[in-house]
């Protein structure tokens, strides 16, 4: 006689991954369960003992250990353990003790293995390899997003419309009208690729407004050497390229031959009302107040990207481009107000903006590089005012002033190029705790405005010097271990490695920042010129300095933690609260908790490896 115990069935129906199984299956499971009670403090599983059942916690809580005795996890009602042992030789891999008086449901091995084979969702949830589960979680999101998988050539709907560079402006206008296109690629008989591009806007601004003769050659009004994109690149990459360069048309190239043109409007079909509009409107505002009025639009476009399942890379880049545009427009406005600069300068973005890993909650890290002819007496008043204007303007637009005073308003960070070169050389040659902290911020630098080549020069210097200084790398590696991830979650707490419990976790300080820190050390070691952590990881993987598979794991971990952080901010926005980085465990789904724990684990392993790779 097979009877089902209602209490057991009800419990299974309320707890994932069982709750996702069909009722008939659950009834069968419930009828086969065994029950056992463990007093607080007693051992439930010993290392190496045979195991014949998946253990599901009905009430109470347990601690799971590593073989070394190190705490691995704490689990409470609905948590399960023993799957490692069941799937590998039927011996206990992780010993378990009852933390509180605990009632355990034993799901017999045969039933467990059947569920594992027959039900994908169940298998995913109990999958033994932490990293596999994380990979799947990240991959599922990637598949869901067309922007990430669609290639540029799928957007091309017609042959490119071209015109020889000797043709007249008039002929160009006629051709564009006949063909119904808003841009023309200008060719030269000697070259297979276009030598220039003209758009409707050029006809308006460079011909009509300028009163140019329509018989003039198009060569005269075209934008020479247009930026192009390869046919196999992703729509997402096209979007980034357009955002960064403020372009509306991109010629697409295949094997050195022109394939067609994609327009902004083609991409907008993929990402309706996107951040491109925000960027466009930033450059049309004429005062700090007007810029400030765009903050709700910035937030709305952030929300839209989250809703449309964009990944952290896309969101991080879009937010960085928006931040960059604010800076550029503020500098234009500052120059308009203060007059032209007395000597050339370059405005630098530092940290997460330079890495293109921005979210909504971000403070401004920036600096000014001045021409070597800088004379404080004569020039500094101007640049001090310029910095004040930009930093206060950014603060008004939601980029909080940097608490560590890493801003161009600080005279230390408003120096001529040679001083910067000296700073960087000293930091690399003679690292101190303070300069190491500086290195971790300043060595992610991007030129935003002015003499951008100076930013390149500084990046080259870092690239050249850092990899030759093992001591510097070792110090940076130690520094990257200062912020560690927690162990995981327990009930509604964040659990630390020493067993302490906190109410929330700062996803930046305990997650994305330490990942970026450790990726930076490897990137400096392999001489990667990339700034984005994902791009740096590509270079690091290419260089083969990580054990196989670990680079990919780290990528997944960064993506997952970043998205939890981003979604948390989006949720706050939707609920009309100020977004922040602190996530409380009760806000996380069971799925997110599991994946986050896996990601923390990967980070923790990667930190251990970092110490080993760069010994002092």
């Amino acid at each position: 006689m097979e009877v089902e115990v209602t209490e057991v069935l009800d419990f299974l129906q309320q707890h994932p991954p069982f709750s996702e199984l069909p009722l008939e299956v659950l009834q069968e499971v419930a009828s086969q369960i065994e029950v056992g009670y463990f007093r607080a403090g007693t051992r439930i599983l010993e290392f190496g003992q045979p195991i014949d059942a998946l253990h599901l916690i009905r009430s109470g809580s347990v601690e799971v250990y590593r073989r070394s005795g190190e705490l691995y996890n704490r689990l409470s009602e609905g948590g399960f353990f023993g799957e490692f042992g069941l799937l590998r030789q039927g011996r206990v891999r992780f010993p378990v003790s009852a933390l509180e008086d605990t009632l355990v449901y034993f799901i017999p091995e045969a039933i467990f293995l059947h569920l594992f084979e027959a039900h994908e969702s169940f298998a995913d949830a109990v999958e033994v390899e932490d990293r596999t589960r994380l990979r799947q979680a990240v991959a599922r999101r990637e598949d869901a997003n067309e922007l990430l998988t669609a290639r540029v050539d799928t957007l091309i709907s017609r042959e490119p419309v071209t015109l020889d560079q000797q043709a007249s402006v008039h002929e160009a206008a006629v051709l564009m009208t006949q063909q119904g296109v808003s841009c023309l690629l200008i060719t030269d008989q000697d070259r297979s690729l276009p030598v220039g591009i003209i758009t409707d806007k050029d006809l308006r601004m460079r011909v009509l407004a300028a009163g140019l003769d329509v018989q003039a050659p198009v060569q005269q009004i075209m934008t020479p050497e247009p930026v192009t994109i390869q046919h196999s690149q992703l729509v997402f990459e096209a979007m980034l390229l357009m955002l960064r360069s403020n372009l509306h048309h991109l010629p697409v190239v295949r094997k050195g031959q022109l394939l067609g043109v994609i327009a902004l409007s083609d991409i907008i079909r993929y990402e309706s009302q996107n951040s491109l509009f925000v960027v466009g409107s930033i450059f049309r505002q004429n005062s700090v107040e007007e810029l400030q009025a765009l903050v709700p639009d910035v937030r709305a476009s952030f929300l839209r990207m989250v809703n449309e399942d964009a990944n952290s890379r896309m969101i991080g880049t879009a937010m960085a481009v928006i931040g960059r545009s604010f800076k550029q427009r503020l500098l234009e406005l500052a120059e308009a107000e203060l007059g032209p600069p007395p000597i050339p300068y370059c405005f630098l973005a530092l940290g997460s903006m330079a890495r293109e890993e921005q979210t909504l909650v971000t403070d401004q890290d920036n600096a000014l590089v001045l021409h070597d002819s800088f004379d404080p007496q004569r020039h500094d008043a101007y640049f001090s005012q310029l910095a004040e204007f930009v930093c206060q303007g950014l603060a008004a637009c939601g980029y909080t002033l940097c608490k560590g005073d890493i801003m161009a308003t600080n005279s230390r960070w408003r120096q001529p190029l040679r001083v910067w070169q000296q700073y960087f050389s000293d930091w690399i040659d003679k690292p101190t705790p303070e300069t190491l902290l500086n290195s971790s911020i300043f060595f992610d630098l991007d030129g935003v405005w002015g003499q951008l080549q100076w930013a390149d020069q500084l990046n080259d210097l870092i690239l050249r010097k850092a990899r030759q200084r093992p001591r510097f790398l070792a110090c940076m590696a130690r520094n990257a271990l200062n912020r560690t991830p927690p162990l995981g979650f327990f009930k509604d707490f964040v659990m630390e490695k020493d067993g302490r419990q906190n109410n929330s976790i700062n996803t930046k300080r305990r997650g994305t920042a330490p990942v970026a820190d450790l990726i930076r050390v490897h990137a400096l070691a392999v001489g990667s010129s990339a700034r984005n952590s994902f791009e740096r990881l590509e270079d690091i993987i290419q260089a083969g300095i990580l054990p196989s598979g670990r680079g990919q794991d780290l990528r997944d971990a960064l993506e997952l933690i970043s998205m939890v952080r981003i979604r948390h901010q989006a949720l706050a926005l939707r609920e009309g609260q100020e977004p922040d980085n602190n996530v409380a465990p009760e806000q996380l789904s069971d799925f997110e908790r599991k994946n986050l724990k896996d990601a923390f684990q990967i980070l923790s392993h990667a930190q251990k490896y970092l110490k080993f790779r760069y010994p002092l």
């Binding site: 089902e4 009828s31 065994e34 029950v35 056992g36 009670y37 034993f106």
Partner: protein, 256 residues
């Protein structure tokens, strides 16, 4: 388990429990008693049950096959009221086995009172379609065979089954039980409340099933389903042994 109406009785006082047919609990030599009954029993089903014997009192609890039991009844009086459902769940100190659990609804030979329907939820129509206990007797005795019963409050299962069998086959049923309520009473009812307790109106600690369970961190179950109550009782015994006894404790210390 039949739960007493709180209006009639605030808590189940142990010292007022109905006297059991066996005089002093520990005085019964159960293996010997079973040998005698196997000789004298007339019904072959009953004879087979006794003949299978019971573990002796000096067996460590860890080695004793146990059977958690609960019956729902039409009332509290074993002579006048009848059984409407039986829940059984085999167990050991280590594990309780849902796979071999049993649950039957049976048709009592007495009428079903409205007030009891409210409690256990078994209705007239369910009972009308149910078999008489006589038809299930063989299966029931087979399930009980060789095990020691585990109940919460020994004043129900044993007297009711005894009475039901007398009515049906003219012979009663005797079997040893471990009473989880009595095990709780040993801790919480060692001495009667003192004058100060009475003066301060201190209530004695409740030894009802749900309250006892909560003291051991066991979850709250919906009561009054024979199988759920049997499971609840089984878990309580495991908890009591884990906290207050040990797997080496001899059976004679806890059965009666």
């Amino acid at each position: 388990m039949f739960y007493l109406d709180p209006k009639k009785l605030r808590d189940q006082p142990v010292d007022e429990e109905p006297e059991l047919s066996q005089s002093s609990a520990s005085a019964v030599n159960w293996p010997e008693r079973f040998r005698q009954l196997a000789e004298t029993a007339v019904d072959p089903r009953l004879k087979a049950y006794y003949a299978a014997g019971v573990p002796s009192g000096d067996t460590p609890l860890a080695e004793v096959p146990l059977l958690a039991m609960d019956v729902e009844t039409t009332g509290l009086n074993a002579r006048k009221d009848g059984i409407v459902s039986i829940g059984l769940i085999p167990m050991t100190l280590q594990r309780i086995s849902c796979a071999r659990a049993g649950h039957w609804v049976v048709r009592p030979r007495t009428s079903l009172k409205e007030e009891s329907i409210v409690i256990h939820g078994i209705t007239h129509s369910q009972v009308q379609q149910a078999p008489d206990l006589d038809q299930l007797l063989e299966a029931l005795l087979q399930a009980m065979q060789g095990s020691v019963a585990v109940v919460h409050y020994r004043g129900i299962e044993r007297p009711f089954l005894d009475a039901a069998l007398r009515t049906r086959i003219g012979e009663g049923l005797e079997f040893p039980v471990i009473d989880t309520m009595e095990l709780e009473a040993r801790v919480h009812r060692q001495k009667p409340p003192g004058w100060l307790d009475r003066l301060l109106g201190r209530q004695p600690v409740s030894i009802r099933l749900a309250d006892s369970r909560s003291r051991y961190g066991l979850p709250r179950y919906r009561p009054h389903h024979a199988l759920t109550d049997a499971l609840a009782c089984a878990e309580l015994l495991q908890a009591q042994i884990a906290h207050r006894y040990s797997p080496e404790t001899l059976l004679e210390r806890v059965w009666s």
